[in-house]
Amino acid sequence: MRDQAYAPSVAEGNHVTTCINPVWPCALTGAVSALSGFDGVAVVIHGSSGCYYYPATLLHRELHSTFLVEQDVVFGAGDRLLNVVSDLSDRYEKIAVVTSCVPAVMGEDIRTLLEGFDAMLVDSPGFLGGFEAGFREAAGLLPIRMMSGLAQVNIEGINLADPFGRGNQREACRLLSSMGIKPGVIFCHDSYNHLMEAPDLSISVNPDLNAVNGTSLGSILGIKEMKSTIQNLACALEGSDPVPAEDEIASVDETIVRVSDKYLKRHDPPSVAIFSTFSYAMFARETLKRYLDAEIVFCGSRSVLPESVPGIEHVTSLSRISEIINNTCPDLVLGSSFEQSLTGNFAFSGLSPPLRGSIRLSSRPIAGTEGLLGFMEDVLNASMDQKKRLKF
């Protein structure tokens, strides 16, 4: 169904905050994800066990919590926080305290309480916003000592909750290495000590999560972005060699064009509904248009849009996503296992967390050339498998 237009609901665009089956985590989870990526940092969730368990199960990192109970809230949670921080302070290089909703409105002067400890406070309660807001807030508060003149480049946008995070990190390091460049600090998956000698240049695998000062040389998410970032790297770092990376990009481009042509000889371009974070959604949209002349029937962003961008909307309600899919009847849906659970005759390919219901063991990227190849491979295989299913 290619002619049905998507009609925005009353709920969207009118600042109605009510949300049915929210599919995106809160700011606290984002902040914890950013901070827990650094070895040597003890992340303390200043809140109840309910606020602790979700990030703990999502991130599979050692996290700490004040595990507040009602009495702490009535009589003050400061002593409780001090107890927990004191126990941890000898074992870690840095303590990072992240506040949940209730401590954030209690009005205790946590900053003063933490004086005397090597601790940072991240005020990132759930009601502040979504995952990215918390992630950027926390990453932006990290004590980084930037040094110019290092022949290294930081990698931004690595997120422990992202099923593509580990693959993106490896892919970014590989591409830099092919140019003769060493990676600097990996934001946010590195050791805390590494922050003390960070280069002032960065590239990103997911610009939604960029938060660090310094000079950004671009992202490697998408083919156009990769080309321009490699040129920027070559200009910024004397002695780097862009030719191997440029050759690789040209070869990958040619390969994808070839298989896409073959697909289009037999099939119409797919109509696609995309649901992901802003940068991943834009990557998917531009890539599918470029190689498959795909019709993008809807492009939805989990994260708040950084600016007014035509053709993409902020959607976090699964109920709304279901309506959109029913109204637009796409051939292919890109999203998370939430979208995959919805009924309909569509092919599905995973683009955003969570991706449950299937086993993922390898480090698959979405950024870089390998990420681009993997993405197109998934999309084409899912589309062809679906056509076979519909045929029989």
Binding site: T17, C19, N21, V23, S49, E70, C101, V102, T316
Partner: protein, 352 residues
């Protein structure tokens, strides 16, 4: 050290009441559960429930809604957002709307009950209050109680009368997030069938609002575990239905379950017990090659677990030895004879 002591043994790690309550309310399949709080609270729990349902092979998407509180609501009050969310939930035409409060809405003092009372729609308010309301288990049992009171108040059942279709029991408080919840249910059905008894409803596991209204029609309530005794007592007060305090645990415990069920319903259980004894003998014979093996087990979380494990090990002929092979002790303990059989397969693998 803090000079402030905690009142009595409160667990700091018992989870959130919301998760416990949602494990119950989202299992009413034609309902919507509205969480009055920030989206994050709803997402965390929705995501957990969705993952658990997928893991259990259930593709149903739980209906969880959030009033989506933002910083402005926290400052100026969240009641208008709740009223708006209720109106939106009504548009979806659910049979019932369950409303759960969160820790932040209790902190800012929103009158959730007042908004619910004045909304004029089919609402069941469950004052969960996030961690102010206790922990996971409190949310779970309090929601079972609140919904039972809702059923009593509605008194909406217009169908058959009690006893019309023979003896029936309700299963109360199945652990909906448990991986083997369906296997345990099937085991209870098998055992009850030996007595010629059928299930009225699974309170509350994958049922509709109409099913809920038949809650009073059972002749006996069987609780999932003794910690739900308070729920059993309230159901007895509300509907006059007696209860058994647990699913069957252990070999002798399974036979006792048959005896107690028969006694509670005024029927003979001798034949059923005899058949189950034969079933147990046959099952244990499958594992006779484990006899004499040295094994080591951890202490079960359940206080009755040690005696149950000792009973099973004794019947099999396993020898407890600190240097023996480690055998897994399931949490929660296996239900009925079939649950023990599954555990013994795991023990055999661990000692091979």
């Amino acid at each position: 050290m803090s000079s402030k002591t905690l009142p009595l043994p409160i667990s700091r790690t018992g989870g959130c009441t919301l998760t416990g309550a949602l494990a119950v309310t989202t299992s009413v399949t034609d309902s919507i559960t509205l969480i009055h709080g920030p989206d994050g609270c709803a997402h965390h729990n929705f995501s957990l429930l969705h993952a658990t349902l997928l893991d259990n092979g259930n593709l149903r998407i739980p209906n969880v809604m959030s009033s989506g509180l933002t910083e402005d609501d926290i400052i100026f009050g969240g009641e208008p957002s709740l009223a708006q969310a209720i109106a939106m939930a009504c548009d979806k035409q659910p049979r019932v709307i369950f409303i759960l409060s969160t820790c932040i809405t209790d902190t800012i003092g929103d009158d959730v009950q007042g908004i619910c009372r004045n909304s004029g729609v089919n609402i069941c308010y469950i004052p969960t209050s996030g961690f102010f309301g206790g922990q996971f288990d409190d949310g779970f049992s309090n929601s079972l109680i609140a919904i039972a009171k809702f059923v009593k108040e509605k008194n909406a059942w217009q169908g058959e009368i009690k006893g019309e279709r023979g003896l029936r029991v309700n299963l109360i408080g199945e652990k909906n997030l448990e991986y083997e919840v369906e296997q345990n249910f099937l085991e209870i059905c098998r055992l009850l069938a030996l007595l010629g008894i059928s299930i009225n409803i699974r309170y509350i596991h994958e049922i509709t609002t109409d099913d809920l209204y038949t809650l009073p029609l059972a002749d006996l309530n069987i609780l999932r575990e003794p910690s739900l005794a308070n729920v059993g007592k309230i159901l007895l007060e509300l509907f006059g239905v007696p209860y058994l305090d647990s699913f069957p645990i252990g070999l002798d415990g399974t036979l006792r379950f048959l005896r107690d069920t028969g006694r509670a319903l005024g029927i003979s259980s001798e034949q059923a017990i005899s058949r189950e004894e034969e079933c147990q003998r046959s099952m244990l014979a499958e594992f006779s090659n484990l006899a004499g093996r040295k094994v080591y087990r951890t202490n079960p979380v359940d206080p009755n677990g040690s005696s149950v494990m000792a009973e099973i090990m004794g019947r099999i002929g396993l020898c407890e030895d600190e240097d023996g092979d480690g055998i897994p002790v399931p949490v929660p303990l296996p239900v009925g004879t079939c649950g023990i059989r599954r555990m013994l397969h795991r023990w055999r693998r661990a000692t091979t």
